[in-house]
């Protein structure tokens, strides 16, 4: 059974301006799926629908076998992590530890278990040393890793990433790719960083102006120059190089 199942999903924020058209997607357990498309294609919208941050869609969306409806949201959100594009929105407590612990505490674990889970999450993204750091004193890359830790500490089954590599320097970006590849959870990664998608995702979904253009093996899609250019995107840098030679 698929972890994420969207059938004939249509969505609009305002009447008359449709953002998503007849989306059909299913994501298998443990798979990493890239979500690509030009600005405004509807990537963030699609991710937000999956955790019920926006509602009023038509069609059916099922996450871990449960339809995304108000009554299931608590349950779904327990199992689905969402890493915001902007870490500033994700992190709101004073220190890294406090922020990572926030979610775990909300589910009523004892303080020892909270501590254990927090430390595990920090370990996964290699920032144990930043544990007591005040968040407003951290760099963008550190904040991004911390915000991923806030999600991992809740041990989700699915993690959704909205442009995780944005504003990361090459080293932090590589570090993040390592972290992503080390995760066994089901993942959807929305990004313009096609090279990263190539390194982390087996499958890729291409959206354009709210329509699902194609879905398939990442390599096949990202190698297809005509397809990408038709939808306002360019080949991943690594492939451009190869052609130049």
């Amino acid at each position: 059974m698929a972890d994420i199942e969207m059938k004939d999903v249509n969505f609009s924020y305002q009447k008359g301006r449709q953002v998503l058209y007849d989306i059909n997607i299913s994501v298998e357990r443990g798979k990493s799926t890239g979500l690509i498309g030009a600005n405004g294609a509807g990537k963030s919208t699609l991710l937000k629908l999956l955790v019920g941050l926006i509602n009023g869609y038509k069609g059916t969306i099922e996450v871990l076998g449960q339809p995304v409806e108000k009554k299931n949201l608590t349950d779904i959100r327990k199992k689905v992590g969402y890493v915001f594009c902007d870490s500033e929105s994700q992190l709101f407590m004073s220190t890294v530890y406090e922020d990572v612990a926030f979610g775990v505490r909300n589910y009523g674990y004892s303080e020892e278990i909270v501590q254990k889970k927090v430390m595990e999450a920090l370990h996964k993204v290699n920032i144990e040393n930043l544990k007591d750091r005040q968040i407003y004193r951290m760099s963008g890359g550190q904040k991004k890793l911390a915000s991923i830790a806030t999600i991992l500490s809740m041990e989700p089954e699915i993690v959704l990433f909205d442009e995780p590599t944005i504003a990361l320097d090459p080293k932090n970006r590589r570090n993040l790719i390592g972290v992503l590849n080390g995760m066994s959870e089901t993942k959807i990664i929305a990004s313009h960083d096609l090279d990263m998608i190539l390194d982390t995702c087996e499958e890729t979904i291409l959206l354009s102006e709210g329509k699902l253009i194609c879905k398939g093996k990442t390599e096949d899609i990202l190698k297809n120059k005509e397809l990408l250019e038709e939808h306002d995107m360019e080949l991943p840098l690594c492939m451009q190089d190869r052609r130049g030679k």
């Binding site: 608590t74 915001f84 500033e88 709101f92 004073s94 909300n106 909270v114 007591d132 407003y136």
Partner: protein
């Protein structure tokens, strides 16, 4: 710019991470502070000598917990101005001018002491701990949560303000402050942006299981320490309230000198 930056830092100090490091339960802190404030306010308006003795609490706290006195004065001096303004008419309307000056001085001192005590409380315990204490004291959950959220929103607002101000400055070099023509759109945009941002923060909280109440975590406190703290300070404040410490010290010194 610099000021804004400091404001942001200051706010972060108020949610410092020393949760429970001091070992004293925040409720003890809160109660002692409340007792102190009540004691300060209860002095009559001419009893300046007795009131002056209350400074001991502030001094001892500052020394004991290494709170920077200059930092504190910098942050509470507006209160000084404010209370002076409030009391400025006293010398003219009181029984005599000197009585008026006296009552004005008491008023100013009372204001400063109360704010200094609250400052010490916030710096030492942090907003979260205070809210935790309020929560234990049966303040409705909603109020405590709103307090915490307001605190969050303030940070969001200040950060957004900082960003916008930077963007403005970079494109308007040489201007001092904001040109008045841009005030309207600046403020409007600030509100919209910070609301958007606050909305996202709230979404992120919801996604992590936030269901309307902050999960109050109590640090590791020493129960005995907390009780001792409460009793010792309670007694000390009572003593300061009942006996004019400074006057007694003066008398004692004279007797020794003789």
């Amino acid at each position: 710019m610099v000021k804004l930056n400091r404001a942001i830092k200051d706010i972060h100090i108020t949610d410092n991470a020393d949760d429970g490091k001091k070992g004293v339960h925040p409720i003890s802190w809160l109660l002692v502070t409340i007792v102190y404030i009540i004691a300060v306010v209860s002095f009559s308006k001419y009893n300046i000598i007795g009131l002056a003795g209350m400074v001991l609490y502030i001094l001892i706290q500052c020394i004991w917990y290494e709170i920077s006195v200059t930092g504190m004065i910098k942050r509470i001096w507006p209160v000084f101005l404010f209370t002076v303004l409030l009391g400025i008419a006293n010398p003219f309307f009181d029984r005599t001018v000197s009585a008026g000056v006296l009552s004005m001085a008491t008023l100013v001192l009372k204001g400063i002491f109360c704010v200094a005590a609250s400052y010490i409380l916030v710096v030492q315990t942090g907003i979260r701990q205070i809210c935790y204490a309020l929560h234990i004291m049966r303040l409705p959950k909603e109020i405590v949560t709103v307090l915490l959220l307001m605190h969050r929103y303030l940070i969001v607002l200040l950060k957004e303000l900082e960003r916008m101000q930077l963007a403005y400055k970079l494109r308007a070099p040489g201007h001092r402050g904001l040109h008045f023509r841009t005030w309207g759109s600046f403020v409007g945009l600030l509100l919209l942006r910070s609301m958007d941002r606050a909305g996202e923060v709230y979404e992120s909280m919801k996604l992590r299981g936030f269901n309307g109440t902050f999960q109050m975590f109590s640090g590791k406190y020493s129960h005995i320490g907390s009780i001792v703290y409460l009793i010792v300070w309670g007694a000390a404040i009572l003593t300061m309230r009942l006996f004019p410490i400074f006057k007694m010290a003066e008398v004692a010194i004279w007797q020794i000198l003789r």
